[in-house]
């Protein structure tokens, strides 16, 4: 069979063609290796970055404190919107960084996801309270509207209410500069 097909092909025998399957196979192996050795990025980024913040109006998470209406985000000044919860361990890790940002004069608005008043109060007593307002997203629906897939996440919003940057996961001490850069980009 193979004799036959080589003779019915072009008159010159194409010698390089015999290596083609091997080359294809090695290419495939390389592709698999790259896929296996490169750590997969499991973060699902919000597709809303660069777009306006969706409209929402969350009730206060704590009695005597304001809730969060998305209208306050478009007041001409950049804001941080921090999605957090008392049950979220990395949120404790980022609390000092949020405290530092609040001290530096950055307005930080909180959205507490699937939380209870008592647990939230305990969390703030323990870890500090950098928030101007905290909206209670008990059903997690505003979290979905923002394209957020976990806690903590932090959105940088510019003065017109546009989402400039989404930070997935806790803000670590070495990432403070990054957040400040994004805030400057947003007009701080």
């Amino acid at each position: 069979m193979s004799d036959m097909s080589s003779e019915t092909g072009s008159p010159k025998p194409r010698r390089w063609a015999i290596w083609l399957p091997l080359v294809l196979f090695l290419g495939f192996v390389a592709l698999v290796l790259v896929g296996m050795l490169r750590p997969a990025d499991r973060n699902v980024a919000s597709a809303l970055v660069g777009k306006p913040m969706p409209q929402f109006n969350l009730p206060p998470a704590l009695p005597g404190r304001p809730g969060l209406d998305s209208k306050v985000l478009a007041n001409g000044k950049p804001h941080l919107v921090n999605i957090f919860a008392s049950w979220c361990v990395p949120c404790r890790v980022e609390a000092p960084q949020l405290g530092a940002l609040a001290k530096a004069g950055v307005p930080i608005e909180g959205i507490s996801v699937r939380d209870s008043t008592e647990a939230l109060q305990g969390f703030l007593d323990q870890n500090g309270d950098p928030y101007q307002r905290i909206g209670a997203d008990d059903d997690g629906q505003v979290q979905l509207a923002l394209g957020s897939s976990g806690v903590p996440e932090t959105y940088v919003i510019d003065g017109k209410g546009k989402i400039v940057y989404q930070h997935i996961g806790e803000i670590r001490p070495d990432q403070l500069g990054l957040i400040l850069d994004k805030l400057k980009e947003a007009g701080l």
Binding site: V44, A47, G140, S149
Partner: protein
């Protein structure tokens, strides 16, 4: 002795507290764990939920996952179906926020069209090659 008992209690307390902490709060959204009253609407919602990805337990659909965010997503789907929204409109609402990744139903886009085109091209190629082989061998004298 009292100290030892206190220590034991503390260890026990920690052991029982840790899993709770890791789990987070269950979704309290109204339709996270409740079906819609209208079976036809529930069926519609179920069909959609089976093709939406849980963003936390990636690889599970929100119909299968017990993650809190999946509960919130189920409630979102059911509430919108109840309100009469089209399932595909709900899917695109979620895709506007989470990208194509959230949907298990494949779409033909600028990035994904080769996935659909390659099998067709390979079939065509195989057909052409094999046709040459078969017609070639059928003619006497052209072979060996």
């Amino acid at each position: 002795m009292k100290r030892l008992a206190a220590l034991l209690l503390m260890v026990l307390g920690l052991a029982t507290a840790a899993p709770l902490l890791a789990q987070g709060e269950q979704s309290t959204a109204p339709y996270a764990y409740r079906q819609l009253d209208d079976p036809a609407k529930e069926e519609k919602a179920q069909a959609l939920m089976e093709t939406l990805r849980c963003l936390q337990c990636q690889g599970q659909s929100i119909a299968d996952s017990d993650a809190p965010i999946a509960g919130s997503m189920r409630s979102l789907v059911r509430e919108r179906i109840e309100a009469g929204e089209d399932p595909e409109a709900i899917r695109s609402w979620l895709m506007e926020r989470y990208g194509d990744y959230v949907s298990y139903a494949p779409r033909i886009t600028g990035l994904t069209w080769p996935l659909f085109a390659v099998p067709a091209v390979l079939l065509l190629l195989a057909f052409l090659l094999l046709r040459r082989l078969f017609t070639g061998s059928a003619k006497p004298g052209e072979g060996a």
